[in-house]
């Protein structure tokens, strides 16, 4: 589009040399009615199922209910990323994807680390543990 022409010839030549001559105008994909509708319908389904499961009382195993709800949430986040945020490995020459991967790594460390450490603090360092260890009862 027009912005490609606006860029210097030199820059264009570099891009074409890198095999990216067919680059989008601003390095972004704006999607289509079809992709937005696909994303929307998938989101509605992926939202409706966990709400229906939990509002209906859930499965017999609480763990199974929790796993289903969290699993569907992860899938829905991916659907939003792809269909609404247009994540792909091409936009901005892959840098948005790199930033996302970096963020997810930090996010997993922060979440898993906090929950793990604090869970162990709770179970191992609560005052009543000392009472049990000392044989005083709780």
């Amino acid at each position: 589009m027009s912005s490609i022409e606006a860029q210097g010839d030199k820059h264009r030549a570099t891009r074409q040399a890198e095999g990216q001559g067919d680059h989008h105008d601003d390095g972004q994909d704006h999607g289509s009615v079809r992709s937005y509708m696909t994303g929307f319908i998938l989101s509605v389904i992926l939202t409706a199922i966990p709400f229906a499961v939990v509002m209906g009382g859930g499965f017999e195993s609480r763990l199974l209910t929790a796993a289903v709800v969290v699993g569907l949430a992860v899938v829905q986040i991916l659907v939003h990323m792809v269909y609404f945020l247009h994540m792909n490995t091409r936009s901005d020459e892959g840098w948005t994807m790199m930033a996302l991967i970096f963020t997810v790594v930090i996010l997993v460390i922060v979440l898993a680390g906090s929950l793990w450490v604090m869970y162990h603090m709770n179970t191992n360092m609560m005052p009543q543990m000392d009472h049990e260890a000392l044989g005083l009862g709780s």
């Binding site: 860029q7 601003d26 390095g27 939202t47 709400f51 939003h80 609404f84 906090s114």
Partner: protein, 205 residues
């Protein structure tokens, strides 16, 4: 020695500054902001994960949450996401009125979401389940409130852009701003998926 210094520097490296057209790096810059925002939410989620079961003998999720209200809010946010998508598509087609109309619909859904959330907060505080009641409620209000604040600022931004588009039309700068708000808006929807899953649904199981 002398043969080296005779070569003009321009043959080795670019002497002209590198030209990008204005705003070429805005989308990646805004994405980096969103990722940092994502980390902030990750920490709030971690806090909720750690403190979410410390009720201090106060009310728990099952005493407080109304899933029908949450489902309604989720629907509002999801619908606002698709209507913002349609606004972007109208923008790509160059339809100023179409863009404005879809932005207005998005704003209505965004404000409806905020109204329901404020109603819920107000209801909880009246029940005596305000943020000072227990660690669970402190972390709940911090997490959900931060998301709500983001939506509120998103609505403010949306109004600003509607005025801008109304006055100047779909110029390049406005297209760029609309793309940024698009990312922001869809990002908030992604955060909301985390909120309704980990705070509301898991709390009610």
């Amino acid at each position: 020695m002398s043969t080296v210094s005779q070569t003009p520097p321009g043959d080795f490296w670019e002497v002209e500054p590198h030209h990008h057209h204005e705003g070429a790096s805005t989308s990646i810059g805004f994405w980096v902001y969103l990722m940092s925002d994502c980390l902030m939410f990750a920490i709030l989620f971690a806090v909720f994960g750690v403190l979410g079961t410390s009720y201090a003998a106060g009310p728990g999720p099952k005493d407080l949450f109304d899933l029908e209200l949450v489902a309604l809010n989720t629907a509002f946010l999801l619908l606002s996401s698709i209507t913002y998508g349609f606004a972007m598509l109208a923008m790509v087609k160059g339809s100023r009125n179409g863009t404005l109309a879809w932005l207005a619909v998005t704003l209505v859904f965004g404000l409806s979401f905020l109204a329901v959330e404020l109603y819920e907060f107000n209801h909880l505080i009246h029940l005596g389940a305000g943020p000072q009641r227990s660690a669970f409620l402190s972390s709940f209000f911090a997490l959900v409130g931060t998301h709500g604040l983001h939506v509120a600022f998103g609505c403010l931004w949306l109004v600003t852009l509607m005025i801008q588009v109304g006055q100047r039309g779909l110029i390049d700068a406005n297209r760029r701003r609309l793309s940024c708000l698009s990312m922001f808006w869809h990002f908030l929807d992604v955060i909301w998926i985390g909120v309704f899953t980990f705070v509301y649904l898991l709390g009610m199981i």
